[in-house]
Symmetry: C2
Subunit: 412 residues, 2 copies
């Protein structure tokens, strides 16, 4: 029984952010119902794919939800979705979406059926224009500060950071609004946009102030840790490591273990800077790197890994995710967050549950994603309150779908 | 009055994640008290800096909080912090930290003073080892899939994505635990680690399944949108744009407006693939790009920007953050999320409040970060319940600090 056990959330979504939001709530114990159009949503076939051709992406972002597939083009299908979203229950009436369907699925219309509905809507930008991580990043200058120092080629980052962030903010917003509803009885129309989430984050990190106030704001700096010391080094065995000297403690540890104190002191004296100041380490990073480089070049990783660990240094080795899976126990079922799960049509691999552990609730093992429409029947029964005859009629007429009752319709 | 108005959260933190968590709650209306050691925490001077040398980073991540500065090395200081964390109040007893202080500040000790305390602790990895974004990324293979196709150099991304994500998950976890406490009366020891947050996210995105199951998992792909179509192009005026063909609608729009339908059809026929399948677009991305390249090379951005916008295409122009600030209204006070704020010691620039709007709560303007210890006196009064004489004694003895009562201590 998860910490949000009893809560029911309805999700009409596609891609990363809102599916992640629903799944985060599901992994904390909420009953999360994702509805999709017949045949699946826009993200049903999103890469990466398993060898079978099925989407690992969809399976990853919809774990532990219930799925219902509805013909959203039909009046009856829309009515069904409306009834699911606005179904009664003190812990229900919570709706997450990025579909932005005008008319029948907007807040004004839905609140006619449940006045205290909480609806969280994620859009692309604040005016409702479409946006994805890949378009938000160039607009906000992130690719301009990513990649090799001195290069002028913009570099996209590979992780959809803003989507992940926006999804988590959907969760916080929903929980905040539900907390308020519990005390005051009122629902809420909650809106946020991907671009605003990204712009706010850059502002929070001080980057907007930097760009506004400094003549020479941040530029590309390769793999250096911005603003203090941190750099990657190639070792004698050809392996690459990242070492961090962000805090004073980390910096002192790094200098001590590499026995470079005398050279660092000489550098500081020559440049008239104090390397205990993080800004001095940043500005003298190239000189510091030159001092450290021979040390790493002379040693294989195995020669210093244990000592680094014992000294509590902050560092890591570069490797592919495939190599990490083979070598790192944190990415295996040894980590209570992971379950080695066999999923039909996909295969067996470590699947994460929530990264959060709550002391009074044993961590739930990861649950697989549903097949599309797998819970259609039971949702029509336990949420909409239909009897078997009514449910059968919907299947017969192709308004809903489940793996057991495939819809056979003439081609349009 | 924000949506979390009445809630009181105490934060003992440094750097990105937990300060962001506290600030997110503050920007939703919670009273958030950040305590720091005398002179400031580990992040007091973190880059970027304003021209004055003051930290834009610290100012950005601590907006709207109350600040108290306490001598954490003294017994009396520790007792004060304990009293602040465990102070009574139905909507208090909420503590966020990444300091991981063993002994007096751990959950077991603190719950002796408030049984229903909710404490959220963020660590580096699940074993408590230190980690930062810059070390987590190499360990999980992210730099291996970032940067130019064919390159073997790992590329770090510039945004601390995992920190931002972990901070938001601290918020959700705290709200989930508080919801549970309200109903069941029990507190909670909540733990998560930066590395687990990152590993879970990669798993949720299907990347762990990809690495486990496929012989040739994801590699570097430059600025291409992974798994469908999206690419950057240099235009006639030398400007660069990113265009997206992720969904069928986006793809059809892009082909139509660039009038490349016949060429795309010929490509599909020649390669025996259906470009309406996102995977085919991904696998034929280089050929597609060759078809589109001359179209962009022949036009300045101004020649197609309006038409792209009217057609609802998902695209954007590459620019530096400095240029974005000058050109983009979404990064100005025209956006209700931003307030043009003058902050002492920093200067005037657009400062973001929360990216979330709640319909029943007018969005609050961004508030500045406090000076270190700015609320020391009032917190000792209204939270700890001390009278003026007791408070004066603490200042006199250097146990606490505020901008008005600087601590003058002999050098150690």
């Amino acid at each position: 029984m998860g910490i949000l056990s009893g809560m029911r959330v309805v999700e009409g979504s596609a891609f990363v952010a809102v599916p992640l939001a629903g799944m985060t709530l599901a992994q904390m114990g909420a009953d999360v119902i994702r509805f999709d159009r017949l045949g699946g949503g826009l993200d049903a076939k999103r890469w990466p794919l398993a060898p079978s051709g099925q989407s690992l992406f969809w399976a990853g972002l919809n774990k532990g939800k219930r799925s219902i597939a509805v013909d959203m083009k039909s009046e009856e299908g829309r009515e069904l979705i409306t009834r699911i979203i606005t179904a009664p229950g003190e812990d229900a009436g919570l709706f997450l979406t990025n579909l932005r369907v005008r008319g029948w699925m907007d807040y004004e219309t839905l609140t006619q059926f449940r006045k205290d509905l909480i609806m969280v809507t994620l859009t692309g930008d604040r005016r409702g224009n479409p946006a994805v991580d890949y378009s938000v990043n160039p607009a906000l200058g992130v690719p301009e500060i990513t990649g090799a120092e001195g290069s002028t080629d913009p570099v996209a980052h590979a992780v959809p950071a803003w989507d992940l962030l926006a999804g988590n903010l959907c969760v916080s917003s929903l929980l905040a609004a539900e907390r308020h509803r519990l005390r005051n009885g009122v629902g809420q129309d909650v809106e946020l946009s991907l671009k605003d989430v990204a712009a706010a984050a850059l502002g929070h990190l001080g980057m907007i102030g930097d760009a506004a106030l400094n003549d020479a704001p941040r530029t590309k700096a390769g793999n250096a840790l911005y603003g203090a010391y941190g750099q990657d080094f190639v070792c004698k065995d050809g392996e690459r490591v990242m070492v961090i000297g962000l805090t004073d403690r980390q910096w002192r540890g790094l200098v001590k273990i590499t026995d470079t104190g005398a050279q660092m002191d000489a550098l500081a004296k020559r440049m008239k800077r104090d390397l205990m100041q993080e800004g001095a380490r940043w500005e003298l990073r190239h000189e510091i790197t030159e001092i450290l480089k021979p040390w790493f070049a002379a040693r294989p990783v195995a020669a210093f890994a244990e000592a680094f660990k014992a000294a509590g240094l902050t560092w890591s080795q570069f490797r592919s995710l495939k190599a990490a899976l083979a070598e790192d126990q944190d990415l295996s079922a040894d980590n209570p967050m992971f379950t080695d799960l066999h999923q039909t049509g996909l295969g067996r691999f470590p699947v994460p549950s929530s990264p959060v552990s709550f002391s009074k609730h044993p961590r739930e093992a990861a649950r697989p994603a549903p097949q599309l429409g797998m819970h259609t029947e039971e949702i029509l029964g336990d949420v909409v309150g239909m009897d078997d005859r009514e449910i059968s009629r919907l299947f017969d007429r192709g308004i809903v779908q489940s793996p057991n009752f495939a819809v056979v319709r003439p081609a349009a």
